[in-house]
Symmetry: C2
Subunit: 199 residues, 2 copies
Amino acid sequence: MRMAKAIRKKASKKGLILQKAAAMFRQRGFAATSMRDLAEVVGIEAASLYNHISSKNEILEAICFEMANHFNTHMDQIEATRQSALSALEAVLRFHIKQMVDNYEQVYVSDREWKHLQEPYLSNFQTQRRTYRKRIAHLIDTGIQKKEILPIDSATAVLIMLHAISGIESWHRSKKRISARELEDNMLTILVGGLRKNH
Amino acid sequence: MRMAKAIRKKASKKGLILQKAAAMFRQRGFAATSMRDLAEVVGIEAASLYNHISSKNEILEAICFEMANHFNTHMDQIEATRQSALSALEAVLRFHIKQMVDNYEQVYVSDREWKHLQEPYLSNFQTQRRTYRKRIAHLIDTGIQKKEILPIDSATAVLIMLHAISGIESWHRSKKRISARELEDNMLTILVGGLRKNH
DNA sequence: CCTACCGATCGGTAGG
DNA sequence: CCTACCGATCGGTAGG
Protein backbone atom coordinates (compact mmCIF):
# COMPACT_ATOMS: atom_id res chain seq x y z
CA MET A 1 0.00 0.00 0.00
CA ARG A 2 2.75 2.36 0.98
CA MET A 3 4.83 1.18 -1.94
CA ALA A 4 1.98 1.23 -4.43
CA LYS A 5 3.92 1.88 -7.57
CA ALA A 6 3.09 4.36 -10.25
CA ILE A 7 0.89 3.13 -13.02
CA ARG A 8 2.50 0.76 -15.49
CA LYS A 9 6.07 1.64 -16.39
CA LYS A 10 9.36 0.51 -17.80
CA ALA A 11 8.19 -3.09 -18.08
CA SER A 12 8.25 -2.78 -21.87
CA LYS A 13 9.89 -0.39 -24.28
CA LYS A 14 6.47 1.01 -25.03
CA GLY A 15 6.01 1.58 -21.30
CA LEU A 16 9.29 3.46 -21.22
CA ILE A 17 8.24 5.60 -24.16
CA LEU A 18 4.92 6.48 -22.50
CA GLN A 19 6.66 7.31 -19.26
CA LYS A 20 9.24 9.57 -20.86
CA ALA A 21 6.59 11.15 -23.06
CA ALA A 22 4.44 12.00 -20.05
CA ALA A 23 7.40 13.69 -18.39
CA MET A 24 8.18 15.72 -21.51
CA PHE A 25 4.58 16.59 -22.31
CA ARG A 26 4.21 17.94 -18.80
CA GLN A 27 7.40 19.98 -18.91
CA ARG A 28 7.15 21.43 -22.40
CA GLY A 29 3.60 20.71 -23.44
CA PHE A 30 2.41 18.21 -26.07
CA ALA A 31 2.73 20.51 -29.07
CA ALA A 32 6.19 21.74 -28.12
CA THR A 33 7.60 18.24 -27.69
CA SER A 34 8.99 16.71 -30.88
CA MET A 35 9.32 13.03 -31.61
CA ARG A 36 13.04 13.64 -32.04
CA ASP A 37 13.27 15.09 -28.53
CA LEU A 38 11.40 12.10 -27.18
CA ALA A 39 13.51 9.61 -29.10
CA GLU A 40 16.69 11.12 -27.69
CA VAL A 41 15.47 10.76 -24.11
CA VAL A 42 14.38 7.18 -24.78
CA GLY A 43 17.74 6.47 -26.37
CA ILE A 44 16.78 5.49 -29.91
CA GLU A 45 16.30 7.20 -33.28
CA ALA A 46 13.05 9.03 -33.96
CA ALA A 47 12.03 6.58 -36.67
CA SER A 48 12.40 3.68 -34.25
CA LEU A 49 9.68 5.05 -31.99
CA TYR A 50 7.19 3.98 -34.63
CA ASN A 51 7.94 0.32 -34.01
CA HIS A 52 6.25 0.74 -30.63
CA ILE A 53 3.62 3.38 -31.21
CA SER A 54 1.84 4.43 -34.36
CA SER A 55 1.67 8.19 -33.89
CA LYS A 56 2.43 11.02 -31.51
CA ASN A 57 -1.26 11.38 -30.76
CA GLU A 58 -1.56 7.73 -29.81
CA ILE A 59 0.83 8.42 -26.94
CA LEU A 60 -1.39 11.19 -25.65
CA GLU A 61 -4.44 8.97 -26.00
CA ALA A 62 -2.78 6.21 -24.00
CA ILE A 63 -1.92 8.61 -21.18
CA CYS A 64 -5.29 10.35 -21.04
CA PHE A 65 -7.49 7.27 -21.19
CA GLU A 66 -5.39 5.30 -18.78
CA MET A 67 -5.89 8.04 -16.21
CA ALA A 68 -9.59 8.37 -17.01
CA ASN A 69 -10.07 4.63 -16.45
CA HIS A 70 -8.06 4.80 -13.28
CA PHE A 71 -10.27 7.51 -11.77
CA ASN A 72 -13.50 5.98 -13.01
CA THR A 73 -12.59 2.61 -11.55
CA HIS A 74 -11.90 4.14 -8.17
CA MET A 75 -15.18 6.03 -8.27
CA ASP A 76 -17.00 2.75 -8.97
CA GLN A 77 -15.47 1.32 -5.83
CA ILE A 78 -16.44 4.34 -3.75
CA GLU A 79 -20.01 4.18 -4.93
CA ALA A 80 -20.14 0.45 -4.22
CA THR A 81 -19.30 0.93 -0.55
CA ARG A 82 -21.98 2.11 1.80
CA GLN A 83 -20.74 5.16 3.63
CA SER A 84 -21.83 8.70 4.31
CA ALA A 85 -21.72 11.09 1.38
CA LEU A 86 -19.21 13.24 3.21
CA SER A 87 -16.76 10.42 3.81
CA ALA A 88 -17.21 9.19 0.25
CA LEU A 89 -16.36 12.68 -0.96
CA GLU A 90 -13.38 12.75 1.33
CA ALA A 91 -12.19 9.41 -0.03
CA VAL A 92 -12.44 10.68 -3.61
CA LEU A 93 -10.45 13.80 -2.78
CA ARG A 94 -7.79 11.84 -0.96
CA PHE A 95 -7.49 9.57 -3.97
CA HIS A 96 -7.00 12.58 -6.24
CA ILE A 97 -4.32 14.00 -4.00
CA LYS A 98 -2.57 10.65 -3.84
CA GLN A 99 -2.61 10.33 -7.62
CA MET A 100 -1.19 13.81 -7.92
CA VAL A 101 1.74 12.76 -5.79
CA ASP A 102 2.23 9.22 -7.10
CA ASN A 103 1.46 9.62 -10.81
CA TYR A 104 2.22 13.28 -11.19
CA GLU A 105 3.29 13.39 -14.82
CA GLN A 106 0.38 11.38 -16.19
CA VAL A 107 -2.27 13.13 -14.13
CA TYR A 108 -0.89 16.51 -15.11
CA VAL A 109 -0.82 15.63 -18.81
CA SER A 110 -4.31 14.16 -18.88
CA ASP A 111 -5.50 17.24 -17.00
CA ARG A 112 -3.85 19.95 -19.06
CA GLU A 113 -2.95 18.53 -22.46
CA TRP A 114 -6.09 16.60 -23.39
CA LYS A 115 -7.19 19.36 -25.73
CA HIS A 116 -4.60 18.12 -28.20
CA LEU A 117 -6.46 14.82 -28.57
CA GLN A 118 -8.01 14.30 -31.99
CA GLU A 119 -11.53 13.20 -32.76
CA PRO A 120 -13.16 10.91 -31.89
CA TYR A 121 -10.95 10.64 -28.82
CA LEU A 122 -11.39 14.28 -27.92
CA SER A 123 -15.17 14.06 -27.61
CA ASN A 124 -14.97 10.73 -25.83
CA PHE A 125 -12.56 12.14 -23.26
CA GLN A 126 -14.59 15.28 -22.69
CA THR A 127 -17.71 13.22 -22.11
CA GLN A 128 -15.96 10.98 -19.59
CA ARG A 129 -14.66 14.05 -17.82
CA ARG A 130 -18.09 15.63 -17.61
CA THR A 131 -19.64 12.41 -16.35
CA TYR A 132 -16.98 11.97 -13.71
CA ARG A 133 -17.54 15.46 -12.38
CA LYS A 134 -21.25 14.87 -12.24
CA ARG A 135 -20.68 11.82 -10.10
CA ILE A 136 -18.79 13.92 -7.58
CA ALA A 137 -21.44 16.63 -7.72
CA HIS A 138 -24.03 13.96 -7.03
CA LEU A 139 -22.10 12.89 -3.95
CA ILE A 140 -22.17 16.47 -2.71
CA ASP A 141 -25.86 16.90 -3.47
CA THR A 142 -26.62 13.72 -1.56
CA GLY A 143 -24.62 15.06 1.36
CA ILE A 144 -26.59 18.30 1.25
CA GLN A 145 -29.90 16.42 1.24
CA LYS A 146 -28.76 14.40 4.25
CA LYS A 147 -27.72 17.59 6.01
CA GLU A 148 -24.13 16.40 6.16
CA ILE A 149 -22.93 19.21 3.95
CA LEU A 150 -23.75 22.92 3.86
CA PRO A 151 -26.04 23.92 0.99
CA ILE A 152 -23.73 25.22 -1.75
CA ASP A 153 -23.73 24.90 -5.53
CA SER A 154 -22.31 21.41 -6.02
CA ALA A 155 -20.90 22.05 -9.49
CA THR A 156 -18.94 25.04 -8.17
CA ALA A 157 -17.67 22.96 -5.30
CA VAL A 158 -16.48 20.20 -7.64
CA LEU A 159 -14.58 22.63 -9.82
CA ILE A 160 -12.95 24.29 -6.84
CA MET A 161 -11.90 21.00 -5.30
CA LEU A 162 -10.51 19.39 -8.41
CA HIS A 163 -8.63 22.47 -9.49
CA ALA A 164 -7.33 23.06 -6.00
CA ILE A 165 -5.90 19.56 -6.00
CA SER A 166 -4.42 19.89 -9.46
CA GLY A 167 -2.57 22.87 -7.97
CA ILE A 168 -0.30 20.49 -6.10
CA GLU A 169 1.73 20.76 -9.24
CA SER A 170 3.72 23.71 -8.04
CA TRP A 171 4.54 21.74 -4.98
CA HIS A 172 5.95 18.56 -6.18
CA ARG A 173 9.40 20.06 -6.55
CA SER A 174 9.74 21.16 -2.94
CA LYS A 175 8.23 18.06 -1.44
CA LYS A 176 10.62 18.06 1.47
CA ARG A 177 8.89 21.01 3.12
CA ILE A 178 5.79 18.98 3.80
CA SER A 179 5.07 15.27 3.66
CA ALA A 180 2.47 13.78 1.36
CA ARG A 181 0.29 12.91 4.32
CA GLU A 182 0.52 16.37 5.83
CA LEU A 183 -0.35 17.85 2.47
CA GLU A 184 -3.37 15.59 2.17
CA ASP A 185 -4.63 16.50 5.64
CA ASN A 186 -3.97 20.17 5.11
CA MET A 187 -5.94 20.22 1.89
CA LEU A 188 -8.83 18.27 3.33
CA THR A 189 -8.98 20.65 6.26
CA ILE A 190 -9.27 23.63 3.98
CA LEU A 191 -11.52 22.06 1.38
CA VAL A 192 -13.85 19.86 3.36
CA GLY A 193 -13.56 21.71 6.64
CA GLY A 194 -15.43 24.54 5.05
CA LEU A 195 -18.29 22.27 4.10
CA ARG A 196 -18.85 20.26 7.22
CA LYS A 197 -21.84 21.54 9.05
CA ASN A 198 -21.06 21.47 12.76
CA HIS A 199 -17.49 21.56 13.84
CA MET B 1 -17.64 49.88 -12.37
CA ARG B 2 -20.12 47.50 -13.82
CA MET B 3 -18.92 48.27 -17.30
CA ALA B 4 -15.24 48.09 -16.40
CA LYS B 5 -13.86 47.05 -19.77
CA ALA B 6 -11.37 44.32 -20.36
CA ILE B 7 -7.77 45.38 -20.35
CA ARG B 8 -6.62 47.37 -23.40
CA LYS B 9 -8.08 46.21 -26.68
CA LYS B 10 -8.86 46.91 -30.26
CA ALA B 11 -7.72 50.54 -29.93
CA SER B 12 -4.76 49.78 -32.21
CA LYS B 13 -3.98 47.04 -34.67
CA LYS B 14 -1.40 45.77 -32.23
CA GLY B 15 -4.12 45.66 -29.58
CA LEU B 16 -6.27 43.61 -31.92
CA ILE B 17 -3.42 41.21 -32.59
CA LEU B 18 -2.79 40.73 -28.87
CA GLN B 19 -6.46 40.18 -28.23
CA LYS B 20 -6.88 37.59 -30.96
CA ALA B 21 -3.62 35.93 -29.98
CA ALA B 22 -4.78 35.58 -26.37
CA ALA B 23 -7.98 33.91 -27.54
CA MET B 24 -6.10 31.49 -29.78
CA PHE B 25 -3.33 30.74 -27.30
CA ARG B 26 -5.98 29.82 -24.76
CA GLN B 27 -7.93 27.61 -27.12
CA ARG B 28 -5.10 25.78 -28.85
CA GLY B 29 -2.09 26.58 -26.71
CA PHE B 30 0.87 28.81 -27.62
CA ALA B 31 2.93 26.16 -29.38
CA ALA B 32 0.01 24.86 -31.42
CA THR B 33 -0.97 28.30 -32.71
CA SER B 34 0.82 29.35 -35.89
CA MET B 35 1.43 32.90 -37.00
CA ARG B 36 -0.52 32.05 -40.16
CA ASP B 37 -3.53 30.98 -38.08
CA LEU B 38 -3.30 34.21 -36.13
CA ALA B 39 -2.91 36.35 -39.25
CA GLU B 40 -6.02 34.81 -40.75
CA VAL B 41 -8.12 35.67 -37.71
CA VAL B 42 -6.72 39.20 -37.66
CA GLY B 43 -7.44 39.53 -41.37
CA ILE B 44 -3.98 40.14 -42.81
CA GLU B 45 -1.11 38.07 -44.23
CA ALA B 46 1.29 36.37 -41.82
CA ALA B 47 4.19 38.55 -42.93
CA SER B 48 2.22 41.68 -42.11
CA LEU B 49 1.99 40.74 -38.45
CA TYR B 50 5.64 41.65 -38.17
CA ASN B 51 4.91 45.30 -38.82
CA HIS B 52 3.22 45.39 -35.41
CA ILE B 53 5.10 42.84 -33.35
CA SER B 54 8.61 41.54 -33.69
CA SER B 55 8.11 37.89 -32.84
CA LYS B 56 5.60 35.30 -31.69
CA ASN B 57 7.22 35.25 -28.28
CA GLU B 58 6.85 38.99 -27.90
CA ILE B 59 3.09 38.51 -28.00
CA LEU B 60 3.23 36.03 -25.16
CA GLU B 61 5.49 38.37 -23.21
CA ALA B 62 3.06 41.25 -23.64
CA ILE B 63 0.16 39.15 -22.36
CA CYS B 64 1.98 37.63 -19.40
CA PHE B 65 3.62 40.80 -18.11
CA GLU B 66 0.53 42.91 -18.56
CA MET B 67 -1.36 40.53 -16.31
CA ALA B 68 1.50 40.32 -13.82
CA ASN B 69 1.56 44.11 -13.55
CA HIS B 70 -2.18 44.19 -13.21
CA PHE B 71 -2.21 41.81 -10.24
CA ASN B 72 0.83 43.37 -8.60
CA THR B 73 -0.70 46.83 -8.84
CA HIS B 74 -3.88 45.67 -7.19
CA MET B 75 -1.92 43.97 -4.43
CA ASP B 76 -0.08 47.24 -3.80
CA GLN B 77 -3.42 48.95 -3.31
CA ILE B 78 -4.65 46.24 -0.95
CA GLU B 79 -1.54 46.46 1.17
CA ALA B 80 -1.81 50.24 1.27
CA THR B 81 -5.27 50.15 2.84
CA ARG B 82 -5.60 49.42 6.52
CA GLN B 83 -7.96 46.54 6.99
CA SER B 84 -8.02 43.16 8.67
CA ALA B 85 -5.91 40.43 7.10
CA LEU B 86 -9.00 38.37 6.45
CA SER B 87 -10.80 41.10 4.54
CA ALA B 88 -7.62 41.93 2.61
CA LEU B 89 -7.39 38.28 1.63
CA GLU B 90 -11.02 38.30 0.63
CA ALA B 91 -10.46 41.40 -1.52
CA VAL B 92 -7.54 39.72 -3.29
CA LEU B 93 -9.58 36.61 -4.01
CA ARG B 94 -12.54 38.63 -5.26
CA PHE B 95 -10.19 40.51 -7.58
CA HIS B 96 -8.86 37.24 -8.97
CA ILE B 97 -12.35 35.93 -9.59
CA LYS B 98 -13.33 39.17 -11.27
CA GLN B 99 -10.29 39.06 -13.54
CA MET B 100 -11.12 35.48 -14.44
CA VAL B 101 -14.54 36.61 -15.61
CA ASP B 102 -13.58 39.94 -17.21
CA ASN B 103 -10.20 39.15 -18.77
CA TYR B 104 -10.58 35.44 -19.17
CA GLU B 105 -8.33 34.85 -22.18
CA GLN B 106 -5.37 36.85 -20.91
CA VAL B 107 -5.51 35.51 -17.37
CA TYR B 108 -5.75 31.97 -18.66
CA VAL B 109 -2.81 32.40 -21.02
CA SER B 110 -0.55 34.07 -18.46
CA ASP B 111 -1.52 31.30 -16.03
CA ARG B 112 -1.02 28.27 -18.24
CA GLU B 113 1.21 29.22 -21.15
CA TRP B 114 3.96 31.21 -19.45
CA LYS B 115 6.31 28.25 -19.65
CA HIS B 116 6.77 29.06 -23.33
CA LEU B 117 8.40 32.39 -22.44
CA GLN B 118 12.08 32.60 -23.30
CA GLU B 119 14.91 33.81 -21.10
CA PRO B 120 15.32 36.27 -19.55
CA TYR B 121 11.55 36.77 -19.51
CA LEU B 122 10.90 33.29 -18.20
CA SER B 123 12.96 33.76 -15.04
CA ASN B 124 11.61 37.25 -14.53
CA PHE B 125 8.04 36.02 -14.74
CA GLN B 126 8.62 33.08 -12.43
CA THR B 127 10.17 35.38 -9.86
CA GLN B 128 7.25 37.78 -10.00
CA ARG B 129 4.87 34.88 -9.61
CA ARG B 130 6.71 33.53 -6.59
CA THR B 131 6.82 36.97 -4.98
CA TYR B 132 3.14 37.56 -5.57
CA ARG B 133 2.22 34.28 -3.92
CA LYS B 134 4.40 35.09 -0.96
CA ARG B 135 2.54 38.33 -0.51
CA ILE B 136 -0.73 36.44 -0.25
CA ALA B 137 0.83 33.86 2.07
CA HIS B 138 2.01 36.75 4.25
CA LEU B 139 -1.55 38.06 4.41
CA ILE B 140 -2.69 34.66 5.63
CA ASP B 141 0.11 34.35 8.15
CA THR B 142 -0.75 37.76 9.53
CA GLY B 143 -4.36 36.66 9.85
CA ILE B 144 -3.27 33.56 11.72
CA GLN B 145 -1.16 35.60 14.13
CA LYS B 146 -4.08 37.89 14.79
CA LYS B 147 -6.32 34.87 15.40
CA GLU B 148 -8.55 35.86 12.49
CA ILE B 149 -7.67 32.74 10.53
CA LEU B 150 -7.30 29.11 11.55
CA PRO B 151 -3.70 27.91 11.78
CA ILE B 152 -3.01 26.17 8.48
CA ASP B 153 -0.01 26.07 6.16
CA SER B 154 -0.27 29.38 4.34
CA ALA B 155 1.60 28.27 1.22
CA THR B 156 -0.82 25.35 0.81
CA ALA B 157 -3.74 27.68 1.26
CA VAL B 158 -2.44 30.07 -1.40
CA LEU B 159 -2.02 27.29 -3.94
CA ILE B 160 -5.45 25.91 -3.24
CA MET B 161 -7.12 29.28 -3.54
CA LEU B 162 -5.39 30.43 -6.70
CA HIS B 163 -5.87 27.14 -8.47
CA ALA B 164 -9.46 26.89 -7.35
CA ILE B 165 -10.12 30.29 -8.89
CA SER B 166 -8.29 29.45 -12.09
CA GLY B 167 -10.76 26.59 -12.33
CA ILE B 168 -13.49 29.01 -13.29
CA GLU B 169 -12.23 28.27 -16.77
CA SER B 170 -14.56 25.37 -17.26
CA TRP B 171 -17.35 27.62 -16.31
CA HIS B 172 -17.08 30.56 -18.55
CA ARG B 173 -18.96 28.82 -21.32
CA SER B 174 -22.06 28.13 -19.27
CA LYS B 175 -22.18 31.48 -17.56
CA LYS B 176 -25.94 31.69 -17.71
CA ARG B 177 -26.38 29.06 -15.04
CA ILE B 178 -24.95 31.32 -12.38
CA SER B 179 -24.17 35.02 -12.32
CA ALA B 180 -20.69 36.38 -11.80
CA ARG B 181 -21.67 37.70 -8.40
CA GLU B 182 -23.22 34.43 -7.29
CA LEU B 183 -20.11 32.62 -8.43
CA GLU B 184 -17.92 35.00 -6.47
CA ASP B 185 -19.95 34.58 -3.29
CA ASN B 186 -20.16 30.83 -3.69
CA MET B 187 -16.41 30.55 -4.05
CA LEU B 188 -15.69 32.81 -1.14
CA THR B 189 -18.05 30.78 1.03
CA ILE B 190 -16.24 27.59 0.23
CA LEU B 191 -12.72 28.98 0.27
CA VAL B 192 -12.75 31.52 3.05
CA GLY B 193 -15.64 30.07 5.00
CA GLY B 194 -13.39 27.16 5.87
CA LEU B 195 -10.78 29.47 7.28
CA ARG B 196 -12.84 31.87 9.37
CA LYS B 197 -12.55 30.99 12.99
CA ASN B 198 -15.97 31.41 14.56
CA HIS B 199 -19.02 31.19 12.39
C1' DC C 1 0.45 45.68 -46.03
C1' DC C 2 1.64 42.12 -49.79
C1' DT C 3 4.35 38.67 -52.76
C1' DA C 4 7.87 35.73 -52.71
C1' DC C 5 10.72 33.15 -50.34
C1' DC C 6 14.34 31.12 -46.78
C1' DG C 7 16.33 27.58 -43.73
C1' DA C 8 14.82 24.74 -40.09
C1' DT C 9 12.10 21.46 -38.23
C1' DC C 10 8.07 18.78 -38.00
C1' DG C 11 5.48 13.88 -38.00
C1' DG C 12 5.97 10.04 -40.38
C1' DT C 13 7.42 6.23 -44.13
C1' DA C 14 10.36 3.03 -47.07
C1' DG C 15 13.35 -0.34 -47.04
C1' DG C 16 16.42 -3.05 -45.03
C1' DC D 1 16.35 -0.65 -34.65
C1' DC D 2 18.84 2.35 -38.25
C1' DT D 3 19.78 5.26 -42.59
C1' DA D 4 17.81 7.98 -45.69
C1' DC D 5 14.33 10.61 -46.88
C1' DC D 6 9.46 12.91 -47.93
C1' DG D 7 6.05 16.62 -48.10
C1' DA D 8 4.19 19.95 -45.07
C1' DT D 9 4.53 23.57 -42.16
C1' DC D 10 6.92 26.50 -39.14
C1' DG D 11 8.75 31.52 -37.65
C1' DG D 12 10.59 35.04 -39.88
C1' DT D 13 12.93 38.25 -43.71
C1' DA D 14 13.71 40.91 -48.16
C1' DG D 15 12.12 44.08 -50.92
C1' DG D 16 8.84 46.82 -52.51
